[in-house]
C-alpha cells in the first residue's frame, strides 16, 4: 500500500502580527510549522503504515525552506519526502496549487501506484479547504472530505469505508481506492517519532522537483498566471467608532443592577424575549 500525504509549511499564525501603521504582515522571526491540520492526516497515514505496512510519502509545494516541514514529517515516521519547488509556482491560488500538486502526485504514482492521498482539512494561512478536493477532482480520485474515522480497508478489493462529517450527522461512505481523504481535526494525535526515525530524517536526502521534473504539463497553469483569483486589497478590520458603554458600580451587585437597568431600557424587546423564555421554561419544568 502506498499513501501520499500533502503537507504545507505555514507561518505560525498565532505569532503573526500586522503592522499597526502599514497593515503589512510582520514576518520577522515568525516561526514556521507544519500546518496543524495536516498532522491529523499524517498520523492517519502512519497508522496505515503500522497496520498494513503502507509506505508513506510526504509531499509539499513551497519555497526551499519548506524542506524543514518535510524533514519534520520524516521524524514522525514518514518514509519518503518530496519538495516541489519552482519559481513558476510563486503566487499560486488554490486552483494553481492543486494543479501543481496533482501533477506531482500523478508522477509519484507512476513509479509506485498510490492508494490514498491524504490532505489536511484546511490550512491555517490559506484557510480554504479547497486544495484537497482540487487534487481529487483533477486526478479523478474518489473525494472523501472531513473524514473523522477510517472504519475499514479491504486491501485486496481495494475498498475503504470511512466516516465523513456532514452538517447534521455522519455519513458512512464506502468507496474504491485510489481516493483522496481530507482528515478532520482532533481525530487522532500525532506520534512522537522514535530515535531511529529522527536519525533517518536527519540523514535523509530529500527529492526536490521543479515544475518540469514533477511532470507539470503546462506551467502557464501554475503560479500567478494560472490563478484566476486576484487579491486586490488587503486591509485591517475597521475599528468600531463607538466604544462600549461603561457600566459603573461599587459592588458586583450594583454593577449588575445598573447593567440590567441600562440594558432593558435600551432594548425593551430583549427584556420581553428573556421574560417569555424564562416563563415558558418554568412552565415546562
Amino acid at each position: 500500500m502506498h499513501v501520499v500525504v500533502c503537507i504545507k509549511q505555514v507561518p505560525d499564525s498565532a505569532q503573526i502580527r500586522v503592522h499597526p501603521v502599514t497593515n503589512t504582515i510582520m514576518r520577522q522571526g515568525v516561526p514556521t510549522i507544519i500546518n496543524p491540520y495536516d498532522l491529523f492526516a499524517l498520523e492517519e497515514a502512519l497508522r496505515l503504515k503500522d497496520q498494513f505496512g503502507a509506505k508513506v510519502t510526504v509531499l509539499t509545494m513551497g519555497p526551499k525552506m519548506a524542506d524543514q516541514a518535510l524533514r519534520k514529517a520524516l521524524t514522525f515516521g514518514a518514509d519518503e519526502a518530496i519538495l516541489l519547488t519552482d519559481r513558476a509556482f510563486a503566487g499560486s491560488d488554490t486552483l494553481a496549487t492543486s494543479y501543481a500538486l496533482s501533477s506531482a502526485v500523478a508522477k509519484i504514482g507512476q513509479t509506485d501506484p498510490i492508494d490514498i492521498v491524504f490532505c489536511g482539512k484546511q490550512t491555517i494561512d490559506g484557510d480554504t479547504a479547497q486544495v484537497g478536493p482540487g487534487i481529487a477532482t483533477r486526478l479523478n480520485l474518489q473525494q472523501l472530505t472531513y473524514v473523522s474515522k477510517i472504519v475499514s480497508i479491504d486491501k485486496d478489493a481495494r475498498q475503504i469505508v470511512v466516516h465523513r462529517r456532514a452538517e447534521g450527522g455522519v455519513q458512512v461512505l464506502k468507496t474504491a481506492m485510489p481516493c483522496l481523504i481530507t482528515m478532520l481535526e482532533d481525530t487522532n494525535h500525532i506520534r512522537f517519532g522514535t530515535m531511529a526515525d529522527a536519525f533517518r530524517a536527519a540523514r535523509y536526502t530529500l527529492t526536490e522537483w521543479s515544475a518540469t521534473e514533477a511532470g507539470v504539463p503546462d506551467v502557464t497553469h501554475c503560479g500567478l498566471r494560472g490563478s484566476p483569483t486576484v487579491v486586490k486589497k488587503v486591509f485591517a478590520p475597521t475599528a468600531k467608532t463607538v466604544k462600549a458603554t461603561p457600566i459603573a458600580g461599587d459592588t458586583p451587585e450594583s454593577l449588575s443592577q445598573t447593567l440590567i437597568d441600562t440594558l432593558f431600557s435600551a432594548h425593551p424587546g430583549l427584556q420581553e424575549d428573556l421574560e417569555s423564555r424564562v416563563a415558558s421554561n418554568s412552565q415546562g419544568a
Binding site: 503592522h19 499597526p20 501603521v21 510582520m26 522571526g29 524543514q68 522514535t194 530515535m195 529522527a198 540523514r203
Partner: protein, 433 residues
C-alpha cells in the same frame, strides 16, 4: 542499531554550536541534540553578539549570519522614577569594515549557526530532550539517553551546552543547584517599528544600531539591570533582577518590565510599536566564584551551563562560543594523540579556559556580585542623587551655580554620608580591579 559518535553535544545554543562546528570541521563524527523545535526556538537573549569570539570560529560570518544592526553607540542610563541621567559613547570607528558588535535575534542566529554546523558535517537532531547521561560502571560518561523510543546514543565524550539550567549537570552530580542570589531572571519583549522610525528615533543610519544599559530606582534597591537594543525592524527591551529578590516578593519580572516601558524616558522610544514575543530567561551571574567543575570522565561543560557570563559587561554568548571552541579543540587534540577522554586528560580544557579572556575577565570582576549585594543603594540613592544634581545644576532659576554646587554636595552627604561615599568608591574600584 546503536548509534555511536566521537562526540555528542547537548544543546544548540552558541556554546553547543561552536563546539559541534569546530569538531565537525576537524572531521570528527558529531551529533548535536536540541530539545527545541528548532535551534533558537527557546533561546532568549538581548541580544548583542560580540564579533571576536565568532570570528575566530567562522571568519566569514559577517557575510552570512543574520545580523541586525552593528552597534555604533552605547548609552548608559541611570533612571529615577521621573528622569534619567546618562552617558553616551558613539564613534564613527564602530562603522569600520569589521564592526565589533551587532544586535541579533537569537531565533534566527541560532538557526543559521546550526546550518553551519550541519554543513560542517555534524548531525543535528532537534525536538529531542536529553534526559540523562549514560555512564559505565567506572563512572565514565559513555553517551546520553533521550526522551525518544530507542533513545540511547553513545559517544566517546559528551559536551554539555544545555544552558543556564543545566539539569543534566546537576542530576549527574557535577554541579550544585542554581543559587537565587547568583542567578538573574530577565523578562524581555520585542517591539516592532518600521526601520525608518527606528533610525529617526535613535538617530542612526540604515544598518547602525544603539545599545542601552539601564540601572536605577525601578528595581527598588534590588540588583538589576535593563537594556534596550535596536534591531532592524524592532527594539528589544528587557529588565531583570536576581531570582532571590523575586522570590522574596514585591517584584515580578513582567511588572518591572511594564514599569520600565512606562518610564517617561523610555516610553517615547517605543511609541507606536507593536509588541510581539514576551519571554523570560535566566542568566548565571555568580561570576568566577560560582564556576562549577567543568570537566570529568567523558564530559565537559561549556557556556551558560558552566556559568561563564560576565554580567557587568553583559557578555555571555561570546564566552559560550569561546568555551565551546576550547572544549572542541581539547577533544580534537586528544583524539589526534590517541588519548582517552578521562578526567585527567580533559583537564586541558580547564587550563585553556584559564589562559583565555574568559577566566581572566571573570576573575577581574569576581568581587562585583558581592559588592552589589552589599551595596543596594547603587540602585536607589545614586540615581536619585545624580538626577537631583543634574536637575539643580541645569535649572535656570536665579540661584548662582556655586550655591547650587554646595547644595548638591550637601545632599550627597546627607543621603549617603561622607564615609559611605568614599567607601563605595573604594569598594567599587576593588570589585572592578
Amino acid at each position: 542499531m546503536t548509534e555511536r559518535f566521537d562526540a555528542i553535544v547537548v544543546g544548540a545554543g552558541p556554546a553547543g554550536s561552536a563546539a559541534a562546528y569546530v569538531m565537525a570541521k576537524a572531521g570528527l563524527s558529531v551529533l548535536m541534540l536540541e530539545r527545541g523545535e528548532y535551534p533558537g526556538a527557546k533561546n532568549v537573549q538581548g541580544a548583542i553578539l560580540y564579533s571576536d569570539a565568532l570570528e575566530r570560529i567562522i571568519p566569514e560570518f559577517r557575510d552570512e549570519a543574520p545580523l541586525e544592526r552593528h552597534i555604533v553607540e552605547q548609552r548608559v542610563w541611570m533612571l529615577t522614577d521621573k528622569s534619567h541621567i546618562g552617558f553616551d559613547y558613539r564613534s564613527d570607528e564602530f562603522n569600520d569594515a569589521k564592526p565589533d558588535r551587532y544586535s541579533i535575534i537569537r531565533a534566527q542566529f541560532d538557526r543559521w549557526f546550526c546550518t553551519k554546523v550541519k554543513q560542517a558535517g555534524a548531525l543535528v537532531i532537534c525536538d529531542t530532550v536529553v534526559r540523562t547521561l549514560l555512564k559505565d560502571e567506572k563512572g565514565q560518561v559513555i553517551g546520553v539517553k533521550t526522551d525518544r523510543e530507542g533513545g540511547d546514543i553513545f559517544a566517546n565524550v559528551v559536551i554539555l551546552a544545555d544552558g543556564v539550567n543545566s539539569t543534566l549537570a546537576r542530576d549527574a552530580g557535577f554541579r550544585k543547584e542554581l543559587d537565587g542570589d547568583n542567578t538573574a531572571l530577565v523578562a524581555k519583549e520585542m517591539h516592532f517599528l518600521r526601520p525608518e522610525v527606528i533610525q529617526n528615533r535613535f538617530n542612526i543610519g540604515e544598518k547602525e544600531g544603539v545599545a542601552f544599559e539601564l540601572v536605577g530606582t525601578l528595581t527598588r534597591g534590588k540588583i538589576g539591570m535593563g537594556f534596550i537594543y535596536t534591531n532592524l525592524e524592532s527594539v528589544s527591551i528587557g529588565i531583570g533582577c536576581m531570582v532571590g529578590d523575586f522570590e522574596k516578593g514585591g517584584l515580578t519580572p513582567y511588572g518591572l518590565l511594564d514599569e520600565l516601558k512606562a518610564h517617561p524616558s523610555v516610553k517615547p522610544l517605543l511609541a507606536g510599536s507593536e509588541m510581539k514575543e514576551y519571554s523570560a530567561h535566566l542568566i548565571p551571574e555568580g561570576g568566577y566564584k560560582a564556576i562549577p567543575k567543568v570537566y570529568g570522565n567523558g564530559w565537559m561543560v561549556v557556556g551558560d551551563s558552566a556559568g561563564l557570563v560576565n554580567s557587568i559587561h553583559r557578555e555571555g554568548s561570546n564566552m559560550a562560543m569561546t568555551s565551546g571552541q576550547l572544549a572542541a579543540e581539547t577533544v580534537i587534540a586528544l583524539k589526534k594523540e590517541g588519548k582517552s577522554f578521562t578526567e585527567q586528560n580533559l583537564a586541558r580544557y580547564r587550563s585553556a579556559l584559564d589562559d583565555s579572556y574568559i577566566i581572566k575577565d571573570l576573575k577581574k570582576y569576581q568581587g562585583m556580585p558581592g559588592f552589589l549585594h552589599g551595596n543596594r543603594h547603587v540602585f536607589t540613592v545614586y540615581p536619585e542623587l545624580m538626577s537631583q544634581a543634574a536637575s539643580t545644576m541645569l535649572r535656570v532659576d536665579g540661584i548662582d551655580k556655586k550655591s547650587k554646587e554646595k547644595q548638591v554636595t550637601k545632599s550627597f552627604r546627607q543621603k549617603r554620608g561622607l564615609f559611605g561615599l568614599v567607601g563605595d568608591a573604594i569598594k567599587f574600584a576593588r570589585a572592578f580591579r
